[in-house]
């Protein structure tokens, strides 16, 4: 198999390069041989998640004070890129763990952070980000999950449904978003809380092993001390911090999937013969591979730029992350389609990683904000910039 250096190697520190090699070796040994099986069985075995935890990957960006690795965001991106090539479903565990952990790190009380961050960092508990509802996906302002003030004490009562919650089947703690009167609110809800029903979702086209679940809250009692942030700031501040890490993770995971498509395609094109000629000698195939390789290079720049901006803690980081996620998710869909096309019938069989890439890639365009939501936000940002410059 031909290996390509990715993620702008010349922009990485020696430590980041060494960790990327470690991550890729982990994927080669522990993920790639099993990814098709997990996809077929629609479940990632618990011992695999334990392996992620043992390697420190589930708390990669949390500070050492809370038991995390304290790695920079570029390294977090490299981890997601490496895992994304192996299994989009498994990378989803990293995605939601980081969304819950980093939102809590920023907005949690001292008590919440002391209680939840150490087990999240060590992977002793899995977090899930309960934002999407049956009637509210990317338009998060339309949430109907309702918190009401309990008349007996200072607690809240939670009613409503959440849908398509990644890792919901594995989660021990949910960060749940909803409305308290007219204000948005976010609360921590342990999976064992009475009145919370977790129902596994099967039959997905892609992301089949990501442990998606439907959550039903029926008069669930929530302590006021479990509110994260303050009412009124759940969507504008708490969710946005989580979504920022979710988008970085997804952008880099999509880049890894793109690399998988590229490496599979060039390897196949080099050996598969049609009428005594290698597939790679045909101009039509070279065109597909040229587009894939160029997207891989461009996506690597965009992902590095997003991660580096987050490390630098600059306001542009949000826009750069949206741009990276928008680009790599769409490029991954194109690359996966072309990778199947290059392989022909063998690329359509469930034993082929490109067939799984094809199904998983489409999910990348939907999670953490659809392509259309990204276009709406980025389009406004770019038009506003033109307005300011008078062009």
């Amino acid at each position: 198999m031909v290996k390509r250096a990715v993620f702008m190697q010349h922009l990485l520190t020696d430590q980041q390069k060494a960790r990327h090699i470690e991550f890729k070796n982990f994927v080669t040994l522990n993920i790639e041989p099993f990814a098709e099986q997990w996809d077929r069985e629609q479940r990632i075995p618990d011992h695999v998640i334990s392996m992620l935890a043992k390697s420190g990957y589930l708390g990669s960006s949390l500070p050492p004070d809370y038991g995390g690795q304290g790695w920079d965001i570029v390294t977090f991106g490299l981890l997601n890129e490496a895992l994304g090539k192996g299994s989009s479903s498994l990378t989803g565990v990293l995605t939601v763990q980081s969304m819950v952990s980093m939102a809590l790190l920023k907005w949690g009380t001292d008590e919440q952070k002391a209680t939840w961050l150490p087990p999240l960092a060590k992977g002793k508990i899995i977090g899930a980000f309960a934002l999407t509802e049956p009637g509210a996906g990317s338009a998060i302002q339309s949430l109907t999950t309702e918190f009401t003030q309990c008349s007996l004490d200072n607690s809240l009562i939670l009613n409503g449904q959440k849908q398509w919650i990644s890792c919901g089947q594995h989660a021990g703690i949910f960060l749940v978003f909803g409305k308290l009167g007219k204000s948005s609110i976010a609360c921590l809800v342990p999976a064992t809380t009475p009145g919370l029903e977790v129902e596994a979702i099967h039959g997905l086209m892609g992301f089949r092993a990501a442990g998606l679940a439907k959550l039903t809250f029926n008069n669930v009692k929530v302590r006021s001390s479990d509110i994260v942030g303050k009412p009124g700031f759940a969507l504008s501040h708490v969710a946005q911090v989580g979504l920022q890490y979710g988008r970085i993770s997804t952008a880099c995971s999509g880049l890894g999937l793109l690399r998988g498509c590229f490496e599979e395609s060039i390897a196949y094109a080099a050996v598969r013969k049609i009428a005594e000629k290698n597939v790679g000698e045909f101009g039509m195939i070279r065109s597909l591979i040229a587009r894939m390789g160029t997207d891989l290079e461009a996506g690597s720049f965009l992902c590095h730029n997003a991660c580096r901006s987050e490390d630098d803690h600059v306001p542009e980081a949000f826009e750069k992350t949206l741009t990276a996620k928008y680009f790599t998710s769409r490029a991954a869909v194109r690359a996966a389609s072309d990778a199947v096309q290059i392989r022909g019938a063998s690329g359509c069989h469930e034993s082929s990683s490109v067939s799984r890439y094809y199904r998983d890639a489409k999910i990348m365009e939907i999670i953490e904000g659809t392509t259309q939501i990204h276009e709406e936000i980025l389009g406004k940002i770019f038009v506003d910039q033109a307005d300011r410059s008078g062009t």
């Binding site: 303050k230 501040h237 946005q240 911090v241 980081a317 936000i377 506003d384």
Partner: protein, 87 residues
């Protein structure tokens, strides 16, 4: 904090706001979040900007719209967070 320093904070924040949203000018007490001119990322971008620029951390207890609703409000918040007396 001297008036000159306060004006410096205000001017820095104003430049960021004007570079982020499509308005020609901004009065000191214009409500940024009631006008409908900001996008969904503006609140966290403004927060990140003042954290980075003025070396402060916006914490859970600071989540109050009165701290960020206008140029004057944000300036006063930055000055308070820096532990200095306004004006």
């Amino acid at each position: 904090m001297s008036t000159a320093e306060e004006n410096g904070v205000k001017e820095t924040v104003k430049r960021f706001i004007l570079s982020s949203i499509a308005i020609a000018d901004l009065d000191d007490d214009d409500n940024l979040f009631e006008s409908g001119i900001v996008n969904s990322l503006f609140a966290v971008q403004l927060m990140t900007f003042i954290e980075k620029t003025f070396a402060i951390e916006v914490e859970m207890d600071d989540l109050d719209i009165d701290n960020f609703k206008s140029l004057n409000a944000t300036t006063a918040f930055v000055i308070r967070k820096n532990g200095r007396r306004s004006g």
